[in-house]
Subunit: 330 residues, 2 copies
């Protein structure tokens, strides 16, 4: 099925900026979108690539999961500042063969995510391309002065993560390993890989209550992301392997698969979890609940003055953490 650009824009824009509760005087169909920030708030801006072949596989990832995930990833950056998403722009390049069913399913997933994250589509750009290229810009808001940066961690702060680490990577390996495309979307690691949930409410709780001193989202894996937080803060970190909330290897997956997947490796180096990594001063850390809206919050180590990153194994052996997570240029 072939479509002309105006039709595509109309289909993509359908119902997009019709939310009357938003202070968005203008949406799709003009040169640009207009956005009015709430008084006393700063605007958060972030954009993210989501490219066929690099970030998703056309034949392995359902189109609605691509729609959900391209928005979830960018929204996660807003959550990681302690902000709330307000609206987004979609830049979409498609081959003509994908302007039919694929696009419809993609838009279903995208709209489901937009509703879930309270983040409507307000503009963007479309063009034709042999591959599917997606770029999402999310606009968020945070109370002025409350944004949680990567640079605020201090020696002695306790390092926390939300959720379980490595689940999305375990899901990805399942997707890659399967011969057929029939995949049980109810598998928790697959759900995490296909439909990640940015931790918006948790990020806001940690910023509004001035609980976190530094925060970022885990997109490339702990071994890649923790060094970034430490570098921005000019500190180091000591992490306990035993404390990492790793993927639970269930018997039902069978011995063979459990052998192939090392939970510690997944927790350190698996990307795409979109959990929050944050630091909390010891006095506040003691009062932090062990979970927030059903998401576990786990202390995994502490910030050190020495600017190296150490992993303490169960047997007391110490190891320097090396970035083995996702780097597109590696």
């Amino acid at each position: 099925m072939k479509a002309r650009e105006p039709d595509l824009i109309a289909r993509i824009g359908h119902g997009a900026s019709s939310n009357p509760t938003l202070s968005l005087p203008l949406g799709i169909g003009d040169d640009a979108a207009l956005f009015a920030a709430k008084p006393g708030f700063q605007t958060i801006l972030t954009c993210d690539w989501f490219l066929e072949g690099s970030h998703f596989l056309r034949d392995r990832h359902p189109a609605d999961a691509a729609g959900w995930k391209c928005l979830a990833r960018a929204v996660s950056d807003v959550a990681a500042m302690g902000g709330e998403p307000r609206c987004f722009l979609l830049s979409l390049a498609l081959p003509p063969s994908r302007t039919g069913r694929w696009l419809n399913e993609f838009l279903l997933g995208l709209r489901r995510a937009a509703r879930r994250f309270k983040c409507p589509l307000v503009g963007g750009d479309t063009t034709q391309r042999q591959e599917i290229l997606i770029n999402v810009t999310v606009v968020g808001e945070v109370r002025a002065g409350r944004a949680v940066l990567r640079s605020g961690a201090r020696p002695g702060d306790i390092i926390f993560v939300s959720g379980r680490l490595g689940e999305a990577e375990a899901g990805l390996r399942l997707v890659r390993g399967k011969g057929s495309v029939r995949i049980n979307k109810k598998d928790p690691t697959l759900r995490k890989h296909f439909y990640p949930e940015p931790r918006i409410a948790l990020g806001r709780y940690l910023s509004n209550g001035r609980i976190a001193t530094a925060m970022m989202d885990l997109s490339d894996g702990l071994s890649s992301d923790l060094p970034r937080l430490c570098a921005a803060s000019g500190v180091g970190a000591r992490i306990a392997a035993a404390k990492l909330p790793a993927v639970e290897m269930t018997a039902r997956r069978g011995a063979k698969k459990a052998e192939a997947l090392d939970p510690l490796d997944l927790a350190l180096n698996g990307g795409d979890d979109y959990e929050l990594l944050f630091t909390v001063p010891p006095s506040k850390a003691r009062r932090l609940p062990r979970g927030f809206q059903g998401i576990p919050l786990t202390a995994i180590g502490e910030i050190t003055r020495q600017t190296k990153l150490t992993l303490v194994h169960n047997d007391g052996r110490e190891e320097i953490i090396r970035s083995r997570g996702w780097d597109p240029f590696q």
Copy 2:
């Protein structure tokens, strides 16, 4: 030359958000950028694809022109609302072979444009890809209630364009036609094609003075863009062929090339000019100067109640205007 992602981000970000006059508390290196709008202003959001093969040719377009143009195109959308650009996000995907000289020259052109448009880089996303993919999000501002939309044209309004139409297309044909890559950048049509100037000051003048009732930028060509303005306003238009400020075919280009290029065709259907198309009520049109800061302002026709688009030829013959400009899905 191969580079790792952190090095790339550092090079791209070099000097990017160091402008102390900006109310941007945070730039590159965190999860997202923070932006504080001026009181009484609305934020303008726009994003634009700039893709190798589709929007530029790696072997025909100098890297610095790609850098300039990817920003100029998106800034033009802000100008077309009557706003001023404030900052931008860059999403860049590169093959490893282009992270050396190509990237350096690209960044030179990009920074030159950023200085010229007073629009610094504040964030973005980088990834690896076999082709060069660029997506630019520009954040602008406009005094609340002063944004000039496409939907405000009324029957009787005079239709104006800035500059000359078809110059960029003439430049593109010169680029495509040349056997060698040595191109004289001082040729005015090539300058327009390589380094377009978004009409920021003109757009602001037309919005601040409440002169224009509707406005948009000419990116796909008059025959494609005028119908969009008319559709948004629920009106039609009558354009006089004799009044179109077309490209002047100089003798020095030689008879052969002049024959191949039809100025009227270029003015109607040539894309990439980034001139402003705007409508002005007759009372104000009479007082509008014939130029603004050296850019000609030309009345080319008028808005009609009848919702068709007519071109009146020099001999009085009337023709329905059909969109023959750029549509990526055609």
